[in-house]
Amino acid sequence: MTEQQHEVDVVVNGVPHHLSVPARRLLSDALRHDLGLTGTHVGCEHGVCGACTVLLDGRPVRSCLLLAVTAAGHEVTTVEGLGTAEDMHPVQRAFRECHGLQCGFCTPGFLTTVAAFVAEAPDPTEAEAREAISGNLCRCTGYQNIVASVLRAAELTREGGATS
């Protein structure tokens, strides 16, 4: 049986893409398998772990709970779109400085979630930082350094805002 294919135009990290996919293709799989953007990780596929989090029109969402066909016409930002090794996003710099990762499996989901969070709340309390990442699971770090990374990311964002 061949499934009906749907034509999907979607902008990923600023680049327009055209996909031909069955309706049941999850955005997470479209990103990883159809577009080769394997930075978005897939843990649970039921919304619990947060590893697959991407930005949809700037708001963090679970890519495993979104059909690629539903994302047509929207803008998606994955971890690859945040920064590069030479020019890291403040959140990426903060996670490196504060040792906010070990194996790195959960990290893309934290980075996208935290990038949206510090843009909206550049001066969070520690409690707010913890709440912001409460929907992301990490099996390695014990979270202390991740919380420190969120606070440092906010600090870098404030400094960036002051100098530019």
């Binding site: 499934e3 309706a23 049941r24 039921h46 949809l56 709970l65 059909l67 066909v69 929907g135």
Partner: protein, 290 residues
């Protein structure tokens, strides 16, 4: 896991959506935020033949707030409702309850109307609709109808919606002047579904309690509304015996055990959380008097 195959259509207007749902009949399923439906598809616990994706119906992405209440359209995301200041000032329980619904990232996508349609007895917003005495605005190719909250929830994951129907909006009425409210719950982790939780509303007139009502999640097959006024009627808010109300509530609930909590522990939570929530609501009653 991945969803099973299904036929998919994404109507551009409400009329088109109703026609598609009418045609699909009992083979059809509405896809709103997908935060409950897509996990069910991924786990292969649901396998609808046809999905009607309402995410292009931007005409339903509205909040209409008047002094009487807040009408929430089917495409308003939980986050939109949570952050809306006008909605908060008319019905503060919306924001208070939404802060306990999952995590911010899930709320960015999930819809408040979808969580009513889903009729999960652990879903906070079902209790808010029940306690406020809200209304479900149902649309279909045959025409619109309205269902009172008290008739809408039929059982776990079962509502009064029929095949071919779309829940177009729900209205959360404002409370009477002088009413304070809160939502209190115990969950295993922040953002998890509650082991036991409740919405509470206390009305105070001239310093005396005139009404104390609650609605529970995770203790009954549908959101359970209780009137607990009797033990505290006419008391001043600071002196009211809220624990007596909690005891009455615990007597009236028959919670089921599950892997997270025994029935006795849930009943204990009903008692303690009811007393806590009513005291908190009463303390706000003066401050929130309109």
């Amino acid at each position: 896991m991945k969803p099973p195959p299904f036929a998919w259509t994404a109507p551009q207007s409400l009329d088109e959506a109703l026609a598609a749902l009418g045609e699909a009949g009992d083979q059809g399923k509405v896809l709103a935020g997908g935060q409950s439906l897509i996990p069910l598809l991924n786990m292969r616990l649901a396998a609808p033949a046809r999905i009607v994706d309402i995410n292009r119906l931007t005409e339903l992405a509205y909040l209409r707030t008047s002094a009487d209440g807040v009408r929430v359209g089917a495409l308003a995301r939980h986050t939109d409702v949570e952050l809306d200041d006008a909605a908060y000032s008319v019905q503060p329980l919306l924001r208070r309850a939404l802060r306990l619904v999952a995590h911010p990232v899930i709320r960015n996508r999930g819809t408040t109307v979808g969580s009513i349609a889903h009729a999960d007895p652990s879903g906070e917003m079902t209790a808010v609709l029940a306690l406020t005495g809200g209304t479900a605005h149902v649309a279909s190719a045959a025409g619109p109808r309205e269902v009172a909250a008290s008739d809408f929830f039929i059982g776990p994951l079962e509502s009064a919606l029929q095949p071919g129907e779309l829940l177009e909006a729900v209205t959360f009425p404002a409370f009477a002047p002088g009413t304070g409210s809160t939502f209190v719950e115990v969950a295993r982790r922040h953002g998890d579904y509650a082991v036991c939780g409740l919405a509470a509303a206390v009305r105070v007139s001239d310093g005396l309690v005139t009404s104390a009502r609650t609605a529970y999640v995770s203790v009954a097959p549908t959101p359970l509304v209780l009137d607990l006024t009797e033990p505290v009627r006419g008391a001043t808010a600071p002196d009211a015996d809220w624990t007596a109300c909690g005891a009455v509530a615990a007597e009236q609930t028959e919670p089921e055990p599950d892997i997270h909590a025994s029935a006795d522990y849930r009943r204990h939570l009903v008692l303690v959380l009811t007393a806590r929530a009513l005291a908190e609501a009463a303390a706000r009653a003066g401050a929130e008097a309109a």
